[in-house]
Symmetry: C2
Subunit: 317 residues, 2 copies
Amino acid sequence: MGSIAVVGSVAYDSVETPFGKVTEVLGGAATYFSIAAGYFTDVRLVAAVGNDFRQQDVSLLESRNIDLAGLETLPGKTFRWTGKYGYDLNDCQTLDTQLNVLADFRPNLPEHYRTSEYLFLGNFDPGLQRQVLLQVRQAKLVACDTMNYWIQEHFPALLETLKGVGILLINDAETRQLSREPNLIRAAEKILDWGPQILVVKRGEYGALMFRREAGGGLDIFGAPAYPLADVLDPTGAGDTFAGGFMGYLAGTGRSDRHALRQAVIFGSVMASFTVEGFSLDRLKEVTLTEIEMRYRELQRMTRFEDFAQPREKTLS
Amino acid sequence: MGSIAVVGSVAYDSVETPFGKVTEVLGGAATYFSIAAGYFTDVRLVAAVGNDFRQQDVSLLESRNIDLAGLETLPGKTFRWTGKYGYDLNDCQTLDTQLNVLADFRPNLPEHYRTSEYLFLGNFDPGLQRQVLLQVRQAKLVACDTMNYWIQEHFPALLETLKGVGILLINDAETRQLSREPNLIRAAEKILDWGPQILVVKRGEYGALMFRREAGGGLDIFGAPAYPLADVLDPTGAGDTFAGGFMGYLAGTGRSDRHALRQAVIFGSVMASFTVEGFSLDRLKEVTLTEIEMRYRELQRMTRFEDFAQPREKTLS
């Protein structure tokens, strides 16, 4: 089992959806990632919080075997994000972002983090992502996230970072924007020429697609639906949870072959399905291994189909 | 092998996409359906065209073992549809619709059609759909389509029709509108209480979901991605082609069990993938059985994943 270091945001979120409203609850990409990955392996968190960060939130993270040596408390306030969703939960409106202590945060990994075999670079400045990469030189597998702002404003720096990354995990809009290609296969072909061997495209309620460059140069594609839910309360953190389940499974098993990668996508979907069933980490943090396994098996049943009976012979010439 | 009767539109379409433009080419839901279903079984077409309908188009349909006894030529012009797509090919703009001969068409099935075991009711007036139903009383399996206009303006009539329908095939926006429920599982639960045992939700480039009421009352869900394509030229007819592949496979095999239904969804996806690779029926009509089988197997490879290695035991209590 390999340890995974994750660098990203720890936040206080205020979120409104048609199903409720919460104020200044624990959130942030690195938080969702760590809690999800913690079900599969040991996690080493790198993030900055302000001196308003609550002891109960520290305790939650600690209780999950998440190493907090890299969690710096800086003078000032913790990062704040405020967002709102309508009935179309795919459509999120950011109402307010206050970087606070993240504005000047420069990740400096504790010595024992630097031998991590797995590394996840959250969605932040590509230049800083590269500085983190240089601190974990013998990482076996590096994955990263990014977003529209970095694609648009820091494209050359982002390309430079991608050269050192094995797996890029982004959503479909980001995939199209990054590649400037509306078609996802063409987009994947392009992005996989820039460094990553694997592109995982997160598509929210539509599931995920994984593109992988094969040894022979071909493109291996894996498609998985999202785990279907009757009650989605709050999609915040779904993508970060997906990444945590995905990378956590790979690190936990020490595998990164084709089969393990596909299983990892399913675990990503499964973990994300818990996150969206509650606000903040309410549901995700209560999940049991049995529940995780049950949803994995349900996704297996949901996607299986048999060989076909022959279409008729007589048709056409 | 059971014959399938299909009632719907035969049209001349004018379509513009970022990849080209065609004027007054053969189209219409029943056309796409028939050509796709014709790869699997015998098709009996019911539609009206004007006296401008071209002999070459009659010949194409005839060459596919499609029974044209129910294709009426009425005085006037064939139905015309004009549409435009942007780079987001999910987003279609209808520029013009001219019903022409369809305005007063009342389907009256030839005597030998009335013993068809399979029936597909295209997207038209729910009252007329019911009249067709009454003409094919011993049909083993009836599927139907509908659209926003009928849902909004003829809701009670549509509900009445659904009582006599086994399979409803619609897209996700229609599913939400019909059920007045943003969540697809809840939408499916509701619609499956209205008559159909099966709801197939077509989601374009995101694939399809099938919901099926099980004998015990549970909900069986099947999810399949769309067949991924690097070149999509024109999405027109994709949904109708899906329905044709789906129903054609069921009729061709004479099966409607859980396994066959899942295979039928895959054949629907496969057939639709050919349609969108060309304008009009350019690509669909050239398809070979070998190509169909290849894409079926590719979708199988694309969606398979193995049982998981155990998440760690030690985590949490």
